[in-house]
Symmetry: C2
Subunit: 556 residues, 2 copies
């Protein structure tokens, strides 16, 4: 038996942790108004695992014995629960599937290697046996990167990287840390923090996602404006392949032809399995604060973020919510704290008197890090820009709350799902000039999808989550009470409409969630037919038998 | 006939521009002392083109007619001078070859397309005819990326991109410009400057290198600390292939699998021909200045650059020269200006009294850009760090001189070559922790090579040219008076010793010059056998007939 803990098979996070709204008086009325969902009723109980009918493993005793020879006796698992946990990530679609006992194809066996050589041997074995290998980190993926192809007839091995979890060394002069790829976010940061360092990478999935997973799907974190996306943070890496290991030593920059580093980033297991990553790490900053601001409209907030990107300031977080998300944030605050309660009421009255339309107000968070004088300098530049767009600062209180609760959103999603409401996310990036139209058109497209599917009311909200010189990421969250017996097709209808709106408006299919199976249909629309061909050509060379997480990214 | 102007066939730059030292009294004594070269004698006259015996073109009239149908009557050239100009870049090796009439294989025909469709048709034609295509931008390459394989038996077409030179549009909200790939640096910046914008990319080759060439070889510029390497600046691009066009629309960041953008960056023509690039552009900064500093040693200067990279400051240029390069810089100053003359003598006396060893002094330039208050803020952070390493500021005078003369170094190289001295450059990058040992070991390796080859004295000098969070670029310049009848083998002996020292010391084979033919032997040592295999696999898919600039990057 492995000692590793996995997430709930039926939802996000660990057993015993859940969202509750008893101390948030505005939440139930808000959900009723926006989704038509009455929270006073009782929740569906998630199915017990007894009700799940997992297909039997097809792994022969001979195959299992061979795998045990590689990774050790207790590290080869065929139990149903483990195989079901390794079948899906944690998108809404994944939860709908698993809760409905829809398991068309699940892994036949899970292996838990403890080092790179064992990983490499498993891959060589898979090629020899014509078995499929799907690497698994924290299991938080939401684009189908972990899900076996339903029609797969070969043996499927899920390769769980959780035992490769050590920070192997820190080069303190260079700000580089060599880290095993299977480590989960909190474990890694704890090891770094103990020595005074941080990687500064905090995706929403942080508590249940792995370093290797971040690299394999091109992750971004909340403070990526300062620390960079994982593609910037990753300076060197090692990737096991069936016939050996690709080794890229850590470099600040290099000119060695097409970037192998950038081929492995985003490869989602199709080139091999990332075993070790050398990453940029930073001294824990002297000061760190998140200030909140309000803007009279989302577009005013976006324009402020654009001006900040153009300015001499370089904050660690730039975030602004549209009117819907701002309203949602207010509704999920406790009465006694932050801007959810009486303080908000008073503030809103003042702003209304100033002529603000409070239905359009946009909440923004901006993060600052560095020496106290640097934080002060940055805040002064940002303050001027905020005012130039009609915005006002409302202090650091809301930011502290945001910082504490930032990893909890998936629990709200599961809470709603237990009560019949579907919620999921879709994010993208585009140049600044396209963002206002993109936002309007995606919202319109989602509402058209709701109408088409007979979903009334449906909900969509958005925030700008990362800023760059030339553009930003828009992160949409959508929710509705399912009206169909076929909730999977209904979900696919909403999600694919939003994805298509991204492509139709010159935005990308994903800024930081990856491609997997779910986004593969939009690859040609995003990077052109010729671009997909180059990726597929690389995959065909690297894996002619299609045993390495087949069909992910390109669909082929 | 094409209207395009090319560089001298026998050296850098345009006819009529050359280095002279009459107003630099310390230059001749310095060269005599360091290289044993007496500049009072007369120079070799470069050969006239009459002496060059260019192999005849093998292009048939039928083939030329077909190419004329694609690009137009006057845009297909087979004249000897044009074909020789398109045979080599401008490395020392290239000049030794061409001046010695060593032309084992030269292009059979030059074509000058005017748009992407013509480029694409030339590529399709080349595949159909099994002819080789070598793309050509400004012709400044110094790693053999332009040179045909000597044993090539097929027709060779040099595809000169110089007519694709327009800035097609600026998205002013996003800071993005769409630009044709054949444009040379000064032409491009002039078009951008007219509208108040700059790309901020100024490689040493700027005056004679093209946008497409920068992308195809992963170029860096002098202000890359602020504006990013070309890989960061490039947000979208179009690449013609024999069967169509790869189109990547401009995005600030994306999560679409292995990065096709980063496959095309550095591909040196092996995947297709870059026709258009969408790049980050910036408003011309309000203030711009370069401050000079002196450090008691190179390692003290490097440590200061490391601390600046770790600090809250973000200068546009970080540069520090070792003792040899500092002495060279002083020797090339005019008497009346900067720190080359009387001012230096006085300053050095003061520093000697403070206990400095003036044989070890290291000159540094740091560039600042932004609002006046931002420049002031940055300078104050940097000033503290400089002082912490024992350094002193010496004002903005030397920086102004450096800024004016920064593109002139290749003319000095040609001046020396006319007088029998060989000089060339080799640059690399490594983590901060490795830089002091790397510097010492590369210098030692070069000196060992000089000894082995009977070169006494030989010269090598270095500057740190670009800083990153985790490391920096070290840029070496080496020079010697040739002692061998076989000056090519002699040069290869020195250059390859330096390259091997890079790899042996954990540095990369090149930070920003690319791979070409010259650096290909070190690819496996740099990115591992498995890494080279992935690149070659991609090339094999993209170009199964090996007609697209064959053998570049991987040597295969």
């Amino acid at each position: 038996m492995t000692e590793l803990k996995h997430m709930k098979w039926w939802g996000w996070g660990v057993e015993g942790v859940a969202f509750h709204h008893e101390d948030k008086p505005n939440f139930a009325p808000f959900v009723y108004q926006k989704l038509g969902l009455d929270l006073s009723g009782s929740a569906d109980t998630p199915p017990t695992f007894d009700e799940i009918d997992a297909p039997a493993s097809s792994a022969s005793e001979e195959l299992l014995t061979a795998l045990r020879t590689i990774v050790g006796e207790g590290q080869v698992v065929t139990e149903d629960l483990d195989r079901v946990v390794h079948t899906y990530g944690k998108s809404l679609r994944d939860l709908l599937m698993v809760r409905a006992n829809l398991l068309p194809r699940i892994p036949d066996v899970i292996v838990y290697p403890s080092n790179e050589l064992e990983v490499q041997k498993v891959l060589a074995f898979a090629v020899a046996e014509d078995a499929v290998v799907i690497p698994f980190g924290g299991g938080s993926n939401i684009v189908g990167s972990l899900t076996p192809y339903a029609g797969e007839s070969r043996i499927i091995i899920s390769l769980d990287m959780g035992r490769l979890r050590r920070v192997l060394g820190i080069d303190e002069d260079s700000g580089l840390a060599r880290i095993e790829a299977g480590v989960l976010g909190p474990d890694m940061e704890e090891q770094l923090n103990q020595r005074g360092w941080t990687m500064g990478h905090f995706p929403d999935s942080f508590t249940h996602s792995s370093l290797g997973g971040w690299v394999a799907t091109r992750s971004s974190g909340m403070q990526s404006d300062k620390y960079g996306d994982i593609a910037d943070i990753t300076r060197g890496l090692r990737m096991a392949r069936p016939d050996g290991v690709v080794e890229l030593h850590a470099l600040p920059s290099t000119s060695t032809g097409p970037s192998v580093r950038e081929m492995i980033l985003g490869s989602e297991g199709r080139l091999g399995v990332i075993t070790e990553v050398t990453v940029n790490v930073h001294r824990i900053p002297e000061q760190r604060e998140i200030q909140a601001y309000l803007f009279p409209s989302f577009n005013a907030g976006v324009e402020a973020m654009r001006l900040i990107a153009e300015s001499d300031a370089s904050p660690s977080i730039t975030r602004v919510s549209d009117a819907n998300e701002t309203a949602f944030t207010f509704a999920t605050q406790k009465e006694s704290k932050g801007i959810g309660g009486k303080v908000q009421v008073g503030l809103f009255k003042v702003l209304e008197k100033r002529g603000w339309d409070m239905e359009r107000v946009a909440l923004s968070f901006i993060g600052y890090e560095g020496s106290p004088s640097h934080v002060k300098y940055q805040k002064s530049i940002v303050g001027k820009i905020v005012r130039s767009q009609g915005g006002i600062g409302i202090g650091s209180g809301p930011g502290k709350l945001y910082d504490q609760k930032k990893f909890d959103t998936p629990y709200i999603r599961d809470f709603l799902l237990d009560r019949g409401a579907c919620a999921d996310v879709s994010e993208t990036a585009a140049p600044w000039s396209k963002l206002p139209q993109l936002h309007a058109n995606v919202v319109a497209a989602a509402n058209e999808a709701y109408d088409r599917l007979g979903i009334t009311p449906g909900w969509i909200m958005c925030h700008l989550s990362h800023s760059y010189h030339s553009g930003a990421c828009l992160y949409f969250t959508f929710a509705y009470v399912s009206k169909s017996d076929d909730s999977i097709s209904e979900y696919d209808g909403v999600k694919s409409t939003i994805q298509q709106a991204f492509i139709d408006n010159g935005a990308t299919l994903s800024h930081h969630h990856g491609v997997g199976l779910e986004h593969a249909p939009w690859m040609e629309g995003d990077i052109s037919k010729g671009g997909v061909e180059l990726i597929q050509g690389l995959f065909e060379f690297a894996d002619p038998k299609h045993v390495l997480n087949p069909r992910k990214v390109t669909g082929k």
